[in-house]
Amino acid sequence: MKLIVVLAWRNLWRNRRRSLLSMSSVVFAVLIALSTRSMQLGFYARTIHNVVSFYTGYLQVHAHGYMDRQELDNSFADPDSVAALAERVPHVTLAAPRLESFALLSSDSTTDGARIVGVDPVREDRLTGLRGKLVSGRYLAPGDAGILLGSELARHLQVAPGDTLVALGAGYHAATAAGRFVVAGTLTFPIPELNTSTAWVSLPAAQAFYAAPGRATSLAVMLDDERALPGATAALRARLGRGYDVETWKTIMPEMVQYIQLDNAGGVLMLLLVYVVIGFGILGTVLTMTLERTREFGVLIAVGMKRRVLGGVVLLESVLLALQGALLGMLLAVPLLLALAAHPIVLTGQAAEALRGYGFEPILPFSLQGSIFLSQTTAVLAIALVAAAVPLVRIRRLDPVTAMRRGV
């Protein structure tokens, strides 16, 4: 056994150039597989982050039963305490309370239905970048009496900042909701629904309007990492207890989950293609190596070396090469991916325009998720070991005389 190891090790360094060439094919294979998957996962994480930043947040806290009946009567009291509690959960960066319902908005000329959302202006801006969507007028101050309108809604109502709107609707516990709001500003979003039928007021103004003092219908929660979602959900559920429901973006936006699943299927297919290319690359170097050494194998068998021992030596060579290659590949991938994660590839042209249109930064982000190092390196190692079967088959079938004479 020791002999096999010694022989294999010596064989590797006997033809240094050949070994390095074989190893480099594994190194590049690992690099390519790792960076491909890292880019895919990075893109999904980024997309999820972008989408939850439009409105929903990664998580939402509601009073129990709110998702089935989205009414003010299913609101909860003391949102500040609930937000403070949520913000103590690890990975939670922000919890923004909202009080929202539908009401009629009337200008002097016309009336339109809208979702009027009461928000904490500072937190809402940190969550959705609301202030950055402003196209005219000013943003809300905490406790503001003004109203922000989606640009299409403002256009339909024929109002501009400074004009007064009357809002009418049903409040908490069947109270009448009636109020006057001065238009503070208008906002433009890439999502039609926010443009055409949504209005924002400060939380206290919404509470007064809906006759729901000190209440909120939802708490949108942001995380620093999408992967913390299951843990944060469980922690929130445990801390809040039965009176509350905690929903993830996956249940709030099931269509988004489907989109990502669909896209990921394409991504996995692409990854399989990468594996095929990698596999043939490694197979090529192994075949060359086997052909080169056919004469050597013939001599060894002719002088009495057992085929099994020879096979073991060659297999061990492959394993050592693949392991070293994989290790080296990982070592090279870490700084590469770290650099790409810190300085994502900036897109240009039409792709960039399309992403900007949705309010996304036109970049290709990379994921540093630890599990992909393990999974991709394992996959490449498996491919390399399958390729190692080639010399084994040759050794088994080898006729030493022909091999020595003609090298086949």
Binding site: D73, L104, S106, T111, G113, V166, L168, A170, H173, A174, A175, T176, A178, G179, R180, A211
Partner: protein, 252 residues
């Protein structure tokens, strides 16, 4: 549901209850008579509306004036937050005056099927003229007693051309005094949707009236709305100008 407009919110009146001794059991005639008894020249009422929901309830006090079937005005007196709000019905249209924003708003067609003031009555219930006579085909299906009063039970199926949301309405009318005691509203699949029950029959404003009306939607077991009349007056002259946008802002 249209009956509610008359019987419930707008307070209909009952005609002089000259003992209807003729027991001719013609269903259409019974319904027409009960209906006519709700149509005075004018009506005025003070009442409370209590919404009962699981875990909470809300009570409003209101006044209403009506003239014939086409004109009505409702004023909310309490709670304080809604005090001074008024609703004006002219024909098929309803306007609302909201003093806190000093604005008269016409209730858009899309909101007519929504709850009126959060109750189990809809905006539509305010508007619809009594159509139990004209929009339905009445058939006498039996007689039973409700609260010790002998009643005709009449099945009403909407006429094909009528704009009615119900598939069937059952109504119980007392054999004496032509009082409506109970209505059951069924959807087009034959499922019971709403039940309106009239109780506490006594003299008010010189007439025998059911003074408590309870509307119970069947799909929400914990919910119901109770109208309780405190006062009623009939046949007092009201000028047409009373039912106007100007007056809905200043009526007290």
């Amino acid at each position: 549901m249209s009956r509610l407009a008359a019987a419930g919110l707008l307070l209909a009146l009952f005609s002089s209850a000259a003992a209807s001794a003729a027991p001719a059991p013609d269903a259409t005639e019974i319904v027409r008579r009960a209906d006519q008894h709700l149509r005075g020249s004018t009506g005025y009422a003070e009442y409370t509306m209590k919404l009962v929901r699981p875990g909470w309830s809300r009570e409003l006090t209101l006044k209403s004036w009506s003239k014939g079937t086409r004109e009505a005005l409702i004023l909310i007196e309490s709670p304080a937050r809604d005090r001074g709000m008024s609703f004006l019905k002219l024909g098929n249209e309803v306007w609302s005056w909201i003093p806190s924003v000093e604005r008269v708003v016409k209730i858009p067609p899309s909101m007519m099927t929504q709850a009126w003031m959060g109750s189990d009555f809809t905006n539509d219930d305010l508007v619809k003229e009594s159509s139990l006579v004209n929009d339905y085909t009445q058939t006498l299906v039996g007689d039973t007693a409700i609260a010790g009063r002998a009643c005709w039970k009449i099945r009403m199926i909407p006429r094909p051309e009528a704009a009615v949301v119900w598939g069937k309405v059952l109504i119980w009318i007392t054999k004496q005094d032509d009082l409506e005691m109970r209505l059951e509203y069924f959807d087009e699949d034959g499922a019971l949707v709403n039940v309106l029950e009239m109780t506490e029959i006594r003299m008010m404003g010189g007439r025998l009236l059911p003074t408590v009306l309870t509307m119970s939607p069947r799909d929400e077991p914990g919910n119901h709305t109770v109208l309780t009349y405190r006062d009623a007056r009939f046949d007092q002259p009201i000028a047409d100008s009373f039912f106007s946008e100007q007056n809905m802002k200043r009526v007290r």
